[in-house]
């Protein structure tokens, strides 16, 4: 009896969780189709006018382009140097391997805001004033922990003797890496890339201290729009970002499986 009650309680909590977590997302989508400039829900009619206005938001296209550039570039660099470091940590006889692993993941554990102000003062102190490059470098610290964590976990499960086996069977070293190691690690690599990209694209607390008047990332612009004049254009923009996220998640689910992602990237 008590056990059944406990199970019922667990399911109740799960239902509450689902409704609660979906509520803001559903709201944004619904509000984006609102015909009136105030967010009247339930809707009396459907309108796409806010979607047309996204492109006319002041400074929208440069902000989107900047955010995409920073996210793609910092993720790409983090994937390369993070994976190399993960191989050294898991495979090699690296002195202080465990310390390096902890250090690589540690930026995740600290407030983004603190990282932001630390980098701001640092770049000022060394006279580094190139905003775009500063953002890429800063986002490298945002993305690297995701890559390091996921790739170290992925590599720890990989049986390196398989590479030797492939070589014994006649593969070249490069061929063995390409045909055995790369396919086995592809899921970890994709997961790491997805989380890094999203972390960078959505980052506010680090970027806010490194942007200037003319160079603003999309999250900073969005917060500015919300504080200045919230209207359903923002809901429309949010819906499009959400749709893109759904596509990314569905694609990763097909390729990797959400269940595996839950295990590799908490």
């Amino acid at each position: 009896m008590t056990a059944r009650l406990a199970v019922a309680f667990a399911w109740l909590a799960a239902v509450v969780t689902v409704v609660f977590l979906m509520a803001p997302l559903a709201t944004v989508v619904a509000a984006s189709f609102s015909p009136s400039p105030v967010f009247d829900l339930p809707l009396d009619g459907v309108s796409l006018r806010w979607y047309e206005r996204i492109g006319r938001l002041d400074g929208f296209w440069p902000a989107l382009s900047l955010s995409l550039q920073i996210a793609v570039l910092s993720t790409a660099i983090a994937l390369v140097i993070g994976t190399l470091a993960a191989i050294a940590i898991v495979r090699g006889r690296l002195p202080g391997a465990e310390a390096l692993a902890t250090a690589l993941v540690s930026p995740l554990m600290m407030p983004g805001l603190v990282l932001g102000i630390a980098l701001l003062q640092y770049f000022r102190a060394i006279g580094f004033t190139a905003t775009w490059s500063a953002l890429v470098l800063a986002h490298l610290i945002v993305t690297l922990p995701y890559v390091a964590r996921t790739m170290i976990a992925g590599l720890a499960l990989f049986d390196f003797t398989l590479v030797e086996a492939a070589r014994t069977l006649g593969c070249t070293y490069a061929g063995a890496i390409l045909r055995v190691m790369v396919p086995a690690l592809a899921p970890s690599f994709l997961t790491a890339g997805l989380f890094s990209f999203l972390a960078s694209f959505d980052n506010y607390p680090v970027s806010i201290f490194l942007t200037d008047v003319r160079t603003k990332t999309l999250p900073i612009k969005m917060l500015q729009y919300i504080e200045e004049a919230p209207d359903p254009t923002l809901a429309a923009l949010s819906t499009l970002i959400l749709a893109a996220t759904v596509i990314l998640l569905v694609a990763s689910d097909r390729l990797i499986g959400l269940h595996r992602m839950a295990g590799t990237a908490e």
Binding site: A14, M22, A88, L115, I117, P205, I241, T245
Partner: protein, 289 residues
Amino acid sequence: MTDTAVRTPVTAVTRPDNDRWLTLGFAAPATVVLALLFVLPLALLLVASVAGPAGFSLAEYGRLTTPHYLGVIWNSLRLAVLTTGIAFAIGYPAAFALARARGVVRSALLATLFLPLAASVIVKAFAWTILLRSDGIVNTVLLALGLVDEPIRMIFTETALIVGAVNIFLPFMILPIYAVVAQLDHRLVDAAATLGASPAVAFVRVVVPLTLPGIIAGVALVFSLSVSAYVVPTLLIGERYPTLSTTIAKAFLLARQPAFGAAAGVVLLAITLAAVALSARLGRSGGSR
């Protein structure tokens, strides 16, 4: 590491130096990036926080002990404790349901965790400003159910802040707990029952200790995320509830008081590091039992 050398004696004998240099070379780029863009800036922040006009000074930390700023620190801690507590109360049982779910239901549940996690924090906080307005959906529902007589003011209150924070950080509580619950050996619970334990006793003596690593990880994660949250307090409560994060941002972006901002930043960092260190310690002692 030594057993690989035994298993592959040929490579180990012919290329030991080669391997060593390759390993160092692989680790080098990330190590350099971390040293130059993480360790050094943080060290500089620490220095800046104690640098007065005439050398070493703790004046900026002194300012943080005035009643106003102690209130600010209290606000941050209160936000973190309430958020973590509520997220745990919802997330712990929900993680069990998730672990019991199979097939389509489990996929759907996981998707509802991942989608908000992947969605922008700003988008979610913005949605709550719509939901919690006095003519918003939450009020409409409350009125329709007869729970309130007139719309209650929610936006820019502490309720809005906590609701938004729990909403945004809840997945970070559920996922680590789920990872542990999914591994739980249910035969242990059955064994406890066989040995005469009531379900409640089996839960407290068997299930809770076994899921403790997940609880510790989730609590530490949600605490450190919510204590340093910036977007949520900015959009959902604003000036009325200054936190360490909003104070730091203001010191740098508006007031131009970098030394004070640096000191506040060090305090915030110390709080999150204390939470992480405590959880690591608890995790270890829990594991050795």
